[in-house]
Symmetry: none
Subunit: 290 residues, 2 copies
Amino acid sequence: MLEDNRATADDFEEEAPSTPTNNASTTTTSRLPKGGKTNDAFAELMKPKPKLPAHPREPDKRTQQTRFMGRDGLAAYTTNPASFPRDRVVQYDDDFVVIRDLYPKATIHLLILPRDAEKNIHRGQEAFDDVAFLERCQTKEKEVRDWVAEELRSKFGKVSVSELARRQAMEADAPPANGELPPGRDWEREVISGVHAIPSMNHLHIHVLSRDMMSGWMKKSNHYLSFTTEFLIPLDAFPMDKGDWRRQFGHWSDADMKCWRCGLNLGSGAPGMRRVKAHLKEEFEEWKEE
Amino acid sequence: MLEDNRATADDFEEEAPSTPTNNASTTTTSRLPKGGKTNDAFAELMKPKPKLPAHPREPDKRTQQTRFMGRDGLAAYTTNPASFPRDRVVQYDDDFVVIRDLYPKATIHLLILPRDAEKNIHRGQEAFDDVAFLERCQTKEKEVRDWVAEELRSKFGKVSVSELARRQAMEADAPPANGELPPGRDWEREVISGVHAIPSMNHLHIHVLSRDMMSGWMKKSNHYLSFTTEFLIPLDAFPMDKGDWRRQFGHWSDADMKCWRCGLNLGSGAPGMRRVKAHLKEEFEEWKEE
DNA sequence: TATTCCGATAGTGAC
DNA sequence: GTCACTATCGGAATGAG
Ligand SMILES: Nc1ncnc2c1ncn2[C@@H]1O[C@H](COP(=O)(O)O)[C@@H](O)[C@H]1O
Ligand SMILES: Nc1ncnc2c1ncn2[C@@H]1O[C@H](COP(=O)(O)O)[C@@H](O)[C@H]1O
Ligand SMILES: [Zn+2]
Ligand SMILES: [Zn+2]
């Protein structure tokens, strides 16, 4: 059973809301040397851009250690899950460890780590040729998807109109039995999962995350594309045909990013990513309230 | 007659000599987040690289104003030379203003600015089609070259072995008349001059500078190449044939830089530029003492 | 399609 | 091939008391 440790991606603090003085008073910026003392007060107002800390609060020491293992940073979770605090290792058994992604790319972002050391050094494309192994992973994936769905409900249920009937029933004087509750919003539909066609981390991991893509860690176009294109391969694509093109996934050049919700093309590269961030912020508000 | 205001490029302070502690103690550096408070003292030692001020001392206010005119920054000198202090405007008459380059690329670096507003908005390739105008410029150029040569003599004469006889004669009990002095080193040979094939500043200017290329403003490979290749066009190349290739000078890609003194190829780009700076520092010492 | 730091590279504006 | 600022890109390293 998955515990309910609700420290998630939106702990990442977005840029501090700018005071009126900050962006109202002066819209132009000088490119010339800050010069003598006349400009000092002036320059004071100009954006040194405080440069956000990597993590809002630094993670625990044990988790920090994993960051120094580079691309092998997931190994320690699989070999010694008990050494991690429960807000990072959400659940584990002999076969799997479920962790919170240390750099979540959505409001909720978990990773399922298979522990079998023979299997977990391969990509999904190879590891999932073993159908028995695959099926265990699929079962776990389903379980975690459900859990993420519940996490979404508890996080956004109170602003979601689809939850209204269920909410009212629960708050009624005589709440119905659990099975009798109105189902509310189908949050499982808002969960995506799968493996990356070209993982960067060396140990097999299945992403399970909310589809909102709202996180301070969602910084680069690669990040966005990796969860919104065929680069994210769902587990029902396995076992994969020997000739399937995703076994030799090519590197993408600089593909356009499309809004996951409305399909709007937001362009590519860093400029596109700025548009994505701005656009998703608005979509997010609507999406929560569906 | 040119005044003798000896505030020159080597006022630019080179980087402070690094203390032994600075580069000896630790050669490895971590690329991972500085993390908790344990690292603070450690990180303290690591190179924040103080980032030199643009100018050693900020220039006078009037001269600072020219920097806010971008590529038109030379115009004010030609229209109102009297408004500048004499350490910036070295000399002027109805036809020319001679200034110190605000970002000198050599120990001595002057600019000759023709004042004729009909002429000075064109590149040399066009302006010097007017032969009468060209000849006035060439006369002035010669005068300024001689002046720079004298400036070099007074700056480096006392360490130059070629100056020895002259120096001794001058310090003798009965110094000979001026015309009778031993000539000493031919410093005019150490002066280069001309116009850039593709100027960045909009008003016609003739560079007259010592060939040492020693200056804190000599930062980018473009800077170096612009004074050590055919990009610097001497005035005797004018008037230029209609079909001369320098009338449509192409952009250079990333040409190798060669030591102006020994011809050594020092490579291209920023790495090459670092080698140039290091190599020239040694050449400079020898060159002064020739 | 790990993160972080650093340095090199581009693109803009110039009060 | 202005300068100065900023953002972007590209590689290297991946604690250590
Ligand atoms: N030390 C770590 N602990 C937990 N998650 C990590 C760590 N390092 C990287 N990650 C996450 O692992 C995922 C690897 O993605 P990928 O290899 O592209 O499938 C990314 O979502 C990272 O945020
Ligand atoms: N405001 C300024 N005052 C004096 N010299 C300047 C100013 N701005 C740029 N320069 C110099 O003008 C020269 C222009 O070079 P170029 O246009 O390439 O021939 C460079 O050597 C600059 O250092
Ligand atoms: Zn949209
Ligand atoms: Zn040399």
